[in-house]
């Protein structure tokens, strides 16, 4: 399998007033296509920043970042928008569903952006909602759904366009443990079925246990792994290229 994400010497800084904060420092990371990878670390370690950079919604300052083998730096905002539209799905901690849209329409939205024909759109959305167990709630607005149902809608929305990568930022943080377990199972099963690469920032041990590889970040730096189990062969971290 070839690498979907290749980062080399990647750094990212923020300016907070007069102080420059290093969010990511000299990150060396490869994520193979089809990987199910967890990003762990304490608050402020740079998990979300790394996730945002991987999701092409934030830019790095230094280093090299190849997505699908193409250099990200130098892409115009319009090119990045198209790239996200075609290749990346997002699952947010707060679900981030569009409140005026039904569950069906929220899932349908990425296909609308891709100009998928209406009949094909409807069939795929119905199929996806069926898959996440929400066929009966298709016409419900987000405020008529439980937290777990909302996150399942968000997962369906992320996967509906069969993206290369799904970035999920603390997808179980706002859910009770039973619902979180269901969501973890669902994400894992869908990842297995679709072959989509998942990159998940999480504190949830149940989630990390299901991941092929857990990447640890501390103060913006990837921590070298003492040992790499066979299941994590899709990921190399800490400059081990």
């Amino acid at each position: 399998m070839d690498a979907l994400i290749e980062m080399s010497g990647l750094s990212k800084h923020y300016r907070m007033g007069a102080v420059q904060v290093t969010a990511l420092h000299d990150v060396e990371l490869q994520v193979q296509r089809g990987g199910f990878v967890a990003l762990c670390g304490p608050s402020g370690s740079g998990k979300s920043t790394l996730l945002n950079v991987c999701g092409l919604i934030d830019a790095h300052d230094r280093g090299r970042f190849l997505f699908e083998g193409r250099e990200v730096k130098g892409q115009t905002p319009a090119q990045l928008t198209r790239w996200r539209r075609d290749a990346i799905g997002f699952v947010f901690q707060g679900f981030n569903l569009i409140p005026v849209m039904t569950a069906f329409e929220n899932v349908e939205y990425p296909l609308l952006l891709n100009d998928t024909p209406a009949a094909q759109r409807r069939a795929r959305v119905r199929e996806m909602l069926e898959r996440v167990g929400l066929a009966g709630q298709a016409g419900h607005r987000p405020d008529e759904l439980s937290g777990g149902q909302r996150q399942r809608v968000a997962i369906a929305r992320a996967l509906i366009k069969a993206p290369l990568l799904v970035v999920a930022d603390e997808p179980t943080a706002n859910l009770d443990s039973a619902t979180a377990a269901q969501v973890i199972d669902l994400m894992h099963a869908l990842a297995q079925e679709s072959g989509t690469t998942f990159l998940i920032a999480t504190h949830d041990e149940r989630m990390t246990r299901r991941c092929e590889r857990v990447v640890h970040l501390v103060d913006g730096m990837l921590q070298p792994q003492a040992a790499q189990p066979p299941a994590l062969s899709g990921v190399r971290a800490g400059g081990g290229r």
């Binding site: 945002n52 919604i57 947010f92 005026v100 329409e105 939205y109 952006l113």
Partner: protein, 406 residues
């Protein structure tokens, strides 16, 4: 799902705020329509009044409009009958009315006053201008005056009061003839009328043309007022005749209606500024609403952008919402203005006399589909523009920042 239903749902998302903005747009639209309707109604009334009083086209001696006369009727039309016959042969001409302007002294034996007289053809003049010279006492000049007895005169209201003259009284008109001699004639008051203008009410009188010509010892008239079947054809008619008659001067009513031109210039400025203020108010109201909406939905904007929605599409969504608000406001405003216009037609309200006039006038609002359409487009455009500006700021925010907005 399409973009328009989505925009409609977002409009309904904060109903109270949307309703207030729609009401503002409605009020702005109605105010613009009523103001422009009032201006258009005034213009039309003044156009009609001016064209009737002046004539659609006025034919005169070539010097008449340029130089003052050294002696009475030195710039008069000597061949008025020939010109009238020629004009009346034109199928575009409805009628031609001669007028002879003169001045002098009018006396009741005890006191006298300066007058500004007009010799008219009573039949044609009162048929056209009867409504504009309302007879308050007595009657209008006879169309076929008796051969015996004094010639008839109609006095303006204030002139009659000053001379203590009533219907049936005999007065004397004194003036200078075209040869420079003094001449006088006794006239009998048959009617008292109002001109609508205080200054003219103190000086004006009407006699028939023959009486005026007899007094001035001439067969000339000052002007011929030509009335066309189509008032709007006056410029073309005047231009055509001017080419055929290089020794005569022709003017359209619009050339001579200085009062109309001044009122129009004044109203254009007043209502123009008023219109701009109203549009700016609507613009800021919608900007405020959309800015609040954009701020509240910053996280949503971030989500849409992360999902791959282009900034242009996000801005277009907000513009569509604003366009819906503008459209609803414009439709409601049009209905309101239309209702007020209709009500005033059914239940007229009189306005006080404007400056320089003695008569009030009915408050009317002109209904013009073109104006309604234009105002609606302006209001909707202002709303859309406001949304574009507000939403541009929203989509300009970095996605990560937008997603973390609280």
């Amino acid at each position: 799902m399409k973009w328009l239903p989505l925009a409609w749902r977002n409009v309904r998302r904060n109903r109270r705020r949307s309703l207030i903005t729609i009401l503002l747009a409605c009020t702005g639209t109605a105010a613009l329509l009523l103001a422009s309707g009032f201006a258009l109604s005034t213009y039309e009334a003044l156009r009609e009044m001016s064209a009737r009083q002046i004539g659609h086209v006025v034919v005169a001696h070539r010097e008449y409009f340029h130089n003052d006369e050294d002696a009475p009727l030195s710039h008069g039309l000597g061949d008025s009958q020939t010109v009238m016959s020629d004009l009346l042969a034109d199928p575009r001409v409805a009628t031609v009315v001669p007028r002879l302007n003169y001045s002098g002294l009018i006396s009741n034996g005890d006191s006298s006053a300066i007058f500004l007289g007009t010799g008219v053809d009573p039949e044609g003049e009162f048929r056209i201008n009867g409504a504009l010279t309302p007879v308050e006492q007595g009657r209008a000049l006879s169309t076929h005056p008796a051969a015996q007895g004094d010639p008839e005169v109609m006095l303006a209201r204030e002139l009659a009061r000053k001379l203590k003259a009533g219907v049936g009284d005999t007065l004397t008109l004194l003036t200078t003839t075209v040869d420079g001699a003094l001449n006088g004639i006794d006239v009998q008051v048959v009617g008292i009328y109002g001109t609508g203008t205080p200054e003219l009410d103190e000086r004006a009188l009407l006699t028939d043309v023959a009486t005026a010509q007899r007094l001035l010892r001439t067969d000339k008239v000052s002007t011929l007022a030509v009335y066309l079947y189509d008032r709007d054809g006056a410029p073309a008619f005047a231009a055509e005749r001017a080419r055929a008659w290089p020794d005569r001067a022709l003017r359209t009513w619009e050339d001579l209606a200085s009062f109309y031109a001044k009122v129009r210039a004044l109203y254009d400025r007043i209502f123009g500024v008023l219109g701009i203020i109203i549009v700016v108010m609507v613009f800021f109201a919608v900007t405020n609403t959309m800015s609040m909406s954009v701020t509240e939905r910053t996280r949503e904007i971030g989500t849409l952008a992360a999902l791959g929605t282009s900034p242009g599409r996000i801005v277009a969504n907000f513009a569509t919402e604003s366009g819906i608000i503008g459209l609803l406001g414009a439709l409601a405003g049009m209905a309101l203005a239309g209702g007020v216009t209709l009500l005033l037609h059914l239940f007229p309200v009189m306005m006080p006399p404007p400056p320089g006039r003695t008569e009030g006038y009915p408050l009317l609002f002109y209904f013009s589909p073109a104006v309604y359409g234009t105002v609606a487009v302006i209001i909707i455009a202002a709303a859309v523009l406001a949304a574009l500006l507000a939403a541009r700021r929203g989509v300009g925010k970095p996605i990560v920042e937008a997603l973390s907005h609280v």
